[in-house]
């Protein structure tokens, strides 16, 4: 059987043919692939998803501000990607394990990260967000795509684990990564491993159209979701700005993985509205009209419109949610301003789990050196 090169028929940049449950105008619609996974979604749940998105956006704004004020070394905004992050993460359960990239603020928040944890990495105080096992979520991965393999290995570990009651473990590992990452060898190797071993892993590709200045068309000639089936992994291409689509798609993927049917792949078609990081200048490579277009597809507005239309959200409730988000942002600011850098000699801690003679010598030598300054000050 010959496959024609699948290029122009549907370019990677196509955002029309995506599965969605809420239109950009805030209308609840039906989708054959997703409907089944959203039948029980009521206004209360939708409000929760909305609240998480509002909190994510508010923290993101605060993060950018803190960076501009010199409190954070760097920040990777998630503005515009709240739905893809919150929707998919909300479908998980606590015992699942998430391996995110650096841009998954909403995922970390949903997984229980505290305001302190959210800033410590970007402030340059720590390299992780605390104990990953406490929240079933690894810290932000900087090496593009590396975490997809960790998720697969974790999933292979799940396959080899039993629950305390002796039954087969049915946790799921999840990897989040970007469209740029899809070009990495590791992501492709991860899909080979996942498919070959039928590992319970879900790949969530947050296609925000850009890898720093490189448009997604540089990574792929056709939609990224269509790669997965060639590895033997079923995929869904969803409107990444539709939080309900993310939630439903993730339920589909999780159910497959939990039942032993193997991996699944979700391409959440979204858009990075801000710069790549606070060090980036998107005006050098991006058409302002594109940004305007995507403003009309804002993930928060549509849910707000829908909730209001249903009478599930009024001005007072919206103000409450905003106030709660402000409160959280204030906590993050306070955590940032009161952060105490740990003692210098702790840089030698935890390089190894067991004593290492070479490093112990260096620590002793540096301690003696530092002690010299203390004597000078006497």
């Amino acid at each position: 059987m010959a496959y024609p090169p699948s290029t122009a028929a549907q370019p990677a940049t196509d955002v029309g043919s995506v599965a969605r449950l809420i239109t950009p105008d805030g209308e609840r619609v039906s989708d054959p692939a997703l409907d089944r996974w959203a039948t029980d979604v009521d206004d209360a749940l939708l409000s929760d998803l909305y609240r998480d998105m509002v909190r994510t956006r508010r923290l993101d704004t605060e993060g950018v501000a803190l960076q501009r004020q010199g409190q954070l070394g760097l920040w990777a905004p998630s503005l515009g990607q709240e739905a893809a992050q919150v929707g998919t993460a909300r479908a998980l359960r606590g015992s699942d394990f998430v391996f995110p990239s650096y841009r998954e603020l909403g995922v970390q928040l949903v997984r229980g990260a505290t305001p302190t944890q959210l800033i410590q990495v970007w402030r340059g105080e720590e390299q992780s967000m605390g104990d990953p096992f406490a929240r079933g979520t690894a810290g932000p991965q900087i090496i593009i795509g590396a975490q997809t393999l960790h998720a697969v290995g974790y999933a292979m570990g799940i396959q080899r684990s039993a629950r305390p009651d002796g039954a087969r473990a049915d946790d799921v590992a999840v990897a989040y990564f970007g469209d740029g990452a899809s070009s990495q060898g590791d992501v492709n190797e991860a899909m080979v491993f996942a498919a070959s071993f039928g590992a319970p892993v879900v790949f969530v590709c947050c296609n925000n159209q850009w890898a720093i200045s490189e448009p997604v068309a540089v990574q792929s000639r056709f939609p990224l979701a269509r790669r997965a089936p060639a590895f033997g992994i079923p995929s869904l291409r969803i409107d990444g700005n539709d939080v309900l689509a993310g939630f439903a798609a993730m339920r589909w993927a999780l159910e497959r993985a939990r039942s032993g049917a193997g991996p699944a792949y979700i391409e959440a078609v979204t858009y990075r509205m801000g710069p790549h990081t606070t060090a980036d200048d998107p005006t050098r490579y991006r058409d302002p009209a594109e940004l305007e277009l995507w403003r009309g597809r804002d993930p928060l507005t549509r849910v707000e419109t829908l909730l209001r239309a249903r009478g599930a959200l009024d001005d007072a409730a919206a103000a409450d949610i905003a106030a709660e988000a402000d409160h959280l942002a204030a906590q993050m600011r306070a955590a940032c301003l009161s952060y105490r850098t740990r003692e210098p000699l702790t840089i030698f801690d935890e390089v190894y789990a067991e004593p290492h003679t070479g490093l112990e010598r260096q620590r002793r030598a540096y301690a003696a050196y530092l002690a010299g300054f203390e004597e000078d000050q006497r």
């Binding site: 393999l149 999933a155 684990s161 590791d186 801690d349 935890e350 290492h356």
Partner: protein
């Protein structure tokens, strides 16, 4: 005591650890039915099943990254990379993920994984099958790096590496896979010298030869030859390249006052350079002559028919011994 080849000793170690510790998993290319390209995993699939002896896709970064995830889930993966030259595709995961995860998470996540690397030359192999990449890993903190030189050490040190809560890059000289030696299969890890300790393989008083891996055999041959010449050479097998056991090395150099360091990896910024610097810092006033390195040349590994010119042999080591003894040698009168 049982006489075993190094390959069989490693096999026995893996078999034992798989039996003793359900958290141990083996991953690699061709390690199942074939038993590995060097047969080190021979019979382990039959004995322990495909859930624990995992034939992987042909993707080194994939193997290493998956091992990282398994360690997250509480397993102790033992990875076999088929040949030294194929460690490079996995290098990113080893250096950026394996080595740093414990530090990055301030100890919350351990990476108790072992990377077995069939290693180095002297077996007439094809390109990419004879490399000595150890310096890359020694340069990376968070890793422990060891190299074995005999079946008894292979049996004990592999078990120690797997038992370690730190990641260990474990170099196995291909040249010695079929070399035999006595192995105590009942040996208890509790009685074994720690994995990071060097071993004095032969005592001597005139000069110290510091080496590791298959070069230990060559250094011993040199020491035997030098004996005929009335010289008494001490030979130290480093065993651990990170950390280096400077206590043992420096004590020996303080005794002999002269040191030759030899390995088959290229010399530039290699383990020998590090050891030479470490000795100089510690023993400068005990040295009767500058430390001398005898290493592979700073060239890509040459074709098999020429590799004997690259690998430091007994005569090159003895020539270096002459240098540290300030006796006539090949470099007498030559400015470097």
């Amino acid at each position: 005591m049982t006489e075993l080849t190094m390959a069989k000793a490693l096999n026995a170690a893996l078999d034992r650890v798989l039996t003793d510790d359900p958290a141990v998993l083996l991953l690699g290319e061709d390690i199942g039915a074939l038993g590995g390209v060097f047969r080190v995993t021979d019979g382990l699939l039959a004995g322990h099943g495909a859930a624990r002896v995992i034939d992987t896709p042909l993707a080194e970064s994939g193997i290493m990254g998956a091992a990282v995830g398994m360690a997250f889930r509480g397993f102790r993966p033992v990875v076999e990379l088929q040949f030294d030259g194929f460690v490079y595709p996995a290098f990113d995961q080893i250096v950026c993920q394996v080595a740093k995860m414990h530090y990055r998470t301030r100890g919350a996540v351990r990476m108790p994984l072992t990377v077995r690397v069939p290693w180095a030359g002297g077996v007439g192999a094809a390109e990419h099958h004879s490399e000595s990449p150890e310096a890359y890993f020694v340069h990376t903190s968070g890793l422990r790096v060891v190299a074995v030189s005999n079946p008894a050490d292979a049996y004990l040190m592999l078990r120690q590496a797997i038992a370690s809560d730190d990641p260990v890059v474990f170099f196995e000289p291909k040249r010695l896979y079929h070399a035999k030696g006595e192995v105590d299969l009942d040996a208890d890890l509790a009685d074994a010298p720690p994995m990071g300790l060097a071993r004095i393989v032969r005592e001597g008083t005139d000069a110290t030869i510091v080496t590791y891996g298959a070069q230990v055999t060559t250094a011993l041959q040199a020491a035997t030859a030098a004996e005929d010449d009335g010289l008494s050479l001490e030979v130290i097998d480093l065993r651990s390249l990170s950390p280096v056991d400077y206590d043992t090395v420096a004590a020996s150099v303080r005794k002999t006052g002269r040191v030759v360091i030899t390995h088959e990896a290229p010399g530039e910024a290699g383990v020998g350079a590090e050891v030479s610097a470490g000795i100089t810092e510690r023993c400068f006033h005990h040295l009767e002559a500058p430390p001398v390195r005898v290493t592979g040349h700073d060239i890509p590994y040459p074709p098999a028919k020429l590799e004997r010119h690259h690998l430091p042999d007994l005569d090159r080591i003895l020539d270096a011994v002459d240098r540290v003894l300030q006796r006539p040698n090949s470099l007498t009168g030559v400015e470097l």
